[in-house]
Symmetry: C2
Subunit: 496 residues, 2 copies
């Protein structure tokens, strides 16, 4: 019987690729999100929140020619036997929302949305199946001014978060230019859209695979690190060398890069349109004071998503980190986006141009933590009122209430352990002050204030000046109960 | 061909029971959540965020004697063919988290968590399948001080949100008292736990069904409003009358109610334990200054969840509203909770007492909106810089940048329409100021400031004083470009 009970006990386990996020990270992320929201609102974007679940056909995630949802999403059947799934990004739900409400929405409709998205992909270090995105989009305008604004907001956001100019770069390219290049590569012919997308995705791997790797993948294929053979796109050698030449076209200025791109795609209508878009973005950026040190045109940026139709953007952190394998490299991409003029049209048939970008919240947070740009304090109440003598609980409650009324976050110990364990609890949870009062003190109308941080510091190795200072500070002292607020504030100020 | 394309177009639709939440509600909710978080942190609770998805056995939601998940949750099979589901509350995930990390966590572990939960229940007006909860819990202490603190935090939270004392009441009861009553009802015998739970759930319906309805449901059953027959619990008439007598036992003070309960359950060990717990809570509340006007002991509170083991809590808003059917009634419950000493034990076998409560965020928000206690402005940027002459866009960008640098949220019109549509856009999106500049003005170094709100007000019926004031204010005026920040600030201040 006992054994059977035991077998029935569930194992406390979490899903693969998911996280429990504890206090300091939740608080740091909240702070970061508030700053980002401030920038988006500075430009006039307003909030929207769509559900976590959507119909699979709304997400556009049915397998081709099939009734089954594609891999990569968490899908289930609802009570009417229809396929529904957790959103894998915030753009597909936005398009659905706009399509449903197009008549009532202002044009352009400019919204931001922050929240978790879900991907049923192989988890790995830093790759989770539930992660936060923070998007902003302008829907209903084809003006390149909107695309330029996306770049400006990327810059402003990173700087508002404390990333120094020079430690990031926003890269812009245009899918139409890429299509123009592909047209030229095939000498006026056309690659199938499937092959085109494969070329784009291969280009996107330049950072990771290097020139040689990309060359191999554009052709026959290559052996990857694990020794597995990855099949290539199958372009001809001459086609490959044209693509590779394109990838090296970037010049020192946006304008020169545009000039070179213009030469390269001359004769391709779509290619020239793309260059013209990039020129308009350059112009608006220059007018806004966003120079080459902040935004560059980079022909190697492709962005893997198939729905982009024009400009694409990427915000990259350029400072070095040492990765899991001990290799020093750039921190990399934290922001991505582009223009997607066809996503609403999917539903309505009506052309609704749109552009925007998405922050990878978790990656950006990890960057800010690396840079020391964000507070990581997990403790909300720096003061613990202990319960030395449980019979005096009513008095301890009054003390805690008095401190809270003075605006000091204060925890009253509500556990059942003795005073020694209470001090350990205080120190384990990062408190600065412990308030202690025995029945003797109570009769004298006094309380003891214990400076927990000072105690710790006194036992650590520190410079002589600080040490001398510390010695003059009493680590524990008594004050009249009427002075408790002032006394606690003074100790907190010591360590502020 | 055209027709086939049309058929393939997905319909833009949202799942039944789910919502798109637009700007003013998102912003109001964010404000409310920040205030609530402030109160929880005032008492020393820290943040936690668990995933939206959990294993079904972790949630405890398998059907009895079955491998299939029970109804009421959104469940699917993962790639290993295990059942996983969206969380239906934040308590089950907390228990899983504590069970996984018990050795490392401080005791008591006190955390708050806010986020959406998911229930596959019949949607209705105000009943959604995705809704927010905001929980706080103390895990690892059996002290009634922790339960009393839950009540105090409920009061503090409602008052911090602007709910007046007298417009709410926190109700406390104890499951052990209820069990004692059931023991007495059966004259020392025992009801099956299934029948006991049915009695509790029936008691919980007192507000909705009234005395007579509850009496019928405790017995044979009753016809509900739709004419359907609902089977009853099947108690004997004498048992029913004892339960009904219990439901009327509440006195004017917590102490007298405890005395009466004590008489009623005398001889039942569990019942007397429950009364003792209520007395301890009363004592702590009194010491903390939380009188009968804020927290009462109410024997009719049962709370439907089966995992509560001791004190149960309910925060009720007592002001009147007119409901969907035109009936005036109390707003009702917005907060609920209780002690659940067995939830972690489910996993570990080790007893880990715990208590806490949960705010129904959406219901509370709706109450605050009804009371006018929260700002419902959906507009983030009060200023729109129009583009009268698109050739001057670089100048418009500079003006927008100047205003933003001065800390004024400002949207630059990035659409493609003419100036008339731009003014309509400004008014549709709730702007106060439109900035306009033509080429003539530009040459003179001037810009026009249009006070959109003033224009609207002038055309409305208003008191003579306000009207006289309005007439002295220019609804549109020119200023030198160097004065633009000051001029815009002045117009914004008119309407602050």
């Amino acid at each position: 019987m006992a054994r059977e009970c035991k077998q029935k006990r569930p194992i406390p386990r979490r899903l693969k690729g998911f996280r429990d996020i504890t206090s300091e990270t939740v608080r740091a992320r909240d702070t970061m999100i508030a700053t980002i929201r401030g920038v988006y609102e500075r430009y006039g974007y307003t909030a929207l929140e769509t559900p976590a679940l959507e119909y699979v056909d709304v997400l556009g995630k049915f397998l081709p020619e099939s009734e089954a949802p594609s891999g990569g999403i968490f899908a289930l059947r609802d009570e009417d036997d229809e396929w529904i799934a957790l959103r894998y990004d915030l753009t597909a739900p936005l398009s659905r929302f706009v399509a449903m409400n197009f008549q009532e929405l202002p044009t352009p409709y400019r919204r931001y949305q922050v929240g978790p998205v879900y991907r049923l992909e192989k988890p790995g270090p830093g790759r989770f199946r539930e992660f936060y995105q923070f998007d902003f989009d302008s829907v209903g305008t084809g003006s390149m001014l909107a695309d330029a604004e996306v770049c400006m907001i990327m810059c402003d956001t990173l700087e508002a978060l404390g990333v120094n100019r020079g430690d990031y770069i926003v890269k812009v390219n245009d899918r139409k230019v890429l299509n123009g290049v592909l047209e030229k590569v095939t000498a006026g012919g056309k690659l199938s859209s499937d092959i085109s997308l494969q070329v784009l995705r291969t280009i996107d791997k330049l950072d990771r695979l290097g020139r040689e790797g990309v060359e191999q993948l554009l052709g026959e294929g290559r052996l990857d690190e694990s020794g597995a053979y990855v099949e290539g796109v199958g372009l001809q050698p001459e086609q490959i060398s044209r693509v590779m030449a394109y990838l090296e076209i970037k010049a020192d200025t946006r304008q020169t890069t545009c000039d070179r791109l213009s030469e390269l795609v001359e004769g391709s209508k779509i290619g020239m349109e793309g260059v013209d878009e990039l020129r308009q973005i350059d112009e608006a950026l220059t007018a806004g004071g966003y120079g080459e040190d902040r935004v560059e045109i980079d022909p190697t940026v492709a962005r893997g998503l198939d729905y982009y139709t024009g400009p694409v953007f990427e915000g990259v952190l350029t400072f070095d980190i040492v990765d899991d394998k001990g290799v020093t490299r750039q921190f990399g991409s934290v922001f991505g986006g582009g223009r997607y003029d066809d996503l609403v049209q999917r539903f309505t048939g009506q052309k609704v141009p749109a552009t925007g970008a998405s922050i990878g919240v978790d990656r950006l947070l990890s960057a800010l933590l690396t840079l020391g740009k964000i507070d990581v304090d997990s403790t909300t109440a720096k003061v613990l009122v202990t319960r030395l003598d449980k019979k005096l609980t009513a008095e301890y409650q009054k003390i805690a209430g008095q401190l809270r009324d003075a605006g000091i976050n204060t925890e009253l110990y509500v556990g059942t352990q003795g005073i020694g364990k209470q001090f350990k609890y205080a120190s384990d949870t990062g408190r600065i002050v412990a308030v202690v009062m025995g029945s003797d003190e109570m009769e004298k109308g006094e309380v003891s204030i214990k400076d927990l941080k000072l105690g710790e510091e006194l036992s650590e190795e520190i410079g002589p000046d600080r040490k001398a200072w510390l010695k003059q500070q009493p680590a524990q002292f008594s004050v009249p109960r009427s002075d408790i607020v002032k006394a606690v504030q003074e100790v907190l100020a010591r360590h502020a």
